[in-house]
């Protein structure tokens, strides 16, 4: 190969033989994500017996899109630090505030601090927003499937949809163990179908998310097709993504955020 030919080859961007199922939805600003910022707790709202929403003032927050997450760090007196990724629950706005909804994980050192120690005025550190593949800018019809605290990034999308009064179709199916464990229960509207896996109000069936929940939504076929977002435990994500595929949703229109 000649020198010129080699250079020409190198200039062509690599394209894998298979198109990736879930290309990034948004360009990610590296600079904002690289800086740790102080976040001050300004309020705490209980959502369920095991989950609360924490509101933070982050004066330098660069803004985010629904579905993005951040990294949060707590530091002990001896310098020991613990950091975790959490989805943003709030819709993007210009309030200088963000919200996270955190499960109280058994023996969780970070969520444990939030649920037993944290109070307004406390400060933590955050960096973000991070990752673009699960982001939803509000541009395409969105079909959202979540379980447990997997509803958190999806709720950011629902809130964004409402706040901007978007016309693009949006539907959500959320699964919880029981009505008491359903996060954001009071906020859910006609866009949402709820599924209870262990206990349900009288007259409501108990069971796992099933084809009967998903198929009617796929039958709606909005213009341009659904972009599906799945969030929850790996077990739920595997189950829900198979339901979507079985109901005809293209694999390359399913984005999955798994806990861990």
């Amino acid at each position: 190969m000649t020198e010129t030919a080699a250079k020409a080859t190198a200039a062509v961007a690599f394209a894998p033989p298979t198109r990736f199922a879930v290309p990034g939805r948004v360009a990610v600003a590296g600079e904002a994500a690289a800086v740790w910022q102080t976040a001050t707790i300004t309020g705490v709202r209980r959502e369920t017996p095991h989950a609360s929403t924490f509101r933070f003032a982050v004066p330098g927050w660069a803004g985010h899109l629904p579905g993005q997450h951040l990294m949060l760090r707590l530091t002990a007196g001896d310098g020991y630090a613990a950091q975790r990724h959490y989805s943003l629950a709030s819709a993007p706005d210009d309030s200088g505030h963000i919200e996270l909804t955190l499960d109280h994980v058994v023996d969780g050192e970070v969520s444990g601090w939030f649920h037993t120690v944290a109070r307004p005025g406390d400060t933590v550190e955050v960096r973000g927003p991070l990752s673009g593949f699960f982001a939803w800018p509000g541009d395409r019809p969105a079909l959202l499937l979540g379980a447990g605290s997997g509803v958190v990034p999806l709720m950011s999308m629902v809130r964004h949809h409402r706040a901007r009064a978007l016309d693009v179709p949006l539907r959500m199916v959320v699964s919880a163990r029981s009505p008491e464990e359903l996060i954001y229960a009071r906020e859910l509207g006609p866009e949402t179908t709820t599924v209870f896996t262990r206990a349900a109000p009288r007259g409501v069936p108990v069971g796992r998310m099933a084809a009967t929940h998903v198929a009617p939504l796929l039958a709606e076929q909005p213009a341009g097709g659904w972009e599906a977002y799945v969030c929850g435990s790996n077990g739920f994500a595997e189950h829900a993504s198979r339901l979507l595929v079985a109901a005809g949703q293209p694999v390359d229109r399913i984005r999955i955020e798994r806990f861990g």
Binding site: A6, A10, A13, F14, P16, P17, T18, R19, F20, A21, V22, P23, G24, V28, A29, G30, E31, A33, A34, W36, T38, M71, L74, T75, A76, G77, D78, G79, Y80, A82, Q83, R84, H85, E109, W113, V117, D122, T123, V124, R127, L130, S131, G132, F133, F134, N234, A237, E238, S241, R242, L244, V245, V251, I254, R255, I256, E257, R258, F259, G260
Partner: protein, 201 residues
């Protein structure tokens, strides 16, 4: 240092194997793929190396079996924060594959790509010298599909997003060509010991 009021954290353990900012996941092995787990059988699986090489080549499972077996026992580290200790993967050293395609001297980087189309970019130096494998087994059993079976790339000295699941091929290049997470704000190299999580770290 920005100390968090009332935060003490887990009891400190003297674990020299834990990179900064990581915690021990114990028996858990979280699954974090962004795409639907593919229904990829052993018969459907293939692995190709091309780009800046003398002899591009494709292996199926049987052809890969003729290469010398090689195992990795050690630790793995995920950029989300967990590390997992003392895991055992069985497979073939990537050196054995590269030896047969003969990389050009001009090759400096590689893009690893999956049967799902997932991509990740790595310096070629991180894929040679007995530090990278094509792994078919985990703890003596076939690698589970959700963890990348039938075969995944294994580069355990870097954050695990570099260890592409459902590995389909490597293309050798003379420049860095950012893959999926690298385009999504993650670090070009991803060395856990230098905590290279995001671009700019």
């Amino acid at each position: 240092m920005n100390i968090t009021r009332g935060f003490t954290g887990r009891p400190r353990t003297e674990n020299a194997g834990l990179p900064p900012g990581q915690y021990d996941a114990g028996d858990d092995w979280p699954v974090l793929s962004a795409e639907v787990t593919p229904e990829l059988t052993v018969a459907d699986w293939s692995f190709r190396i091309d780009g800046l090489v003398d002899e591009p080549r494709t292996w199926d499972r049987e052809a890969a079996r003729t290469l010398p077996a090689s195992a990795y026992t050690g630790d793995i580290h995920c950029v989300t924060g967990w590390s997992k200790f003392g895991v055992r993967f069985g497979g073939v050293s990537l050196d054995a594959f590269l030896e047969r395609v003969r990389p050009h001297g001009s090759a400096t980087h590689a893009v690893a790509y999956s049967h799902t189309g997932y991509t990740t970019s790595l310096p070629l130096a991180d894929l040679t010298g007995g530090r990278a494998w094509i792994a078919f087994e985990y703890e003596g059993r076939p690698l589970p599909a959700e963890h990348g079976g039938p075969a995944r790339l294994l580069v355990p000295h870097l954050y695990f997003w570099k260890s592409a699941k459902w590995i389909a091929g490597l293309t050798l290049l003379d420049h860095d060509e950012p893959g999926f997470w690298e385009q999504n704000g993650y670090h070009a190299r991803g060395n856990p010991w230098e905590e290279q999580r995001y671009s700019g770290d």
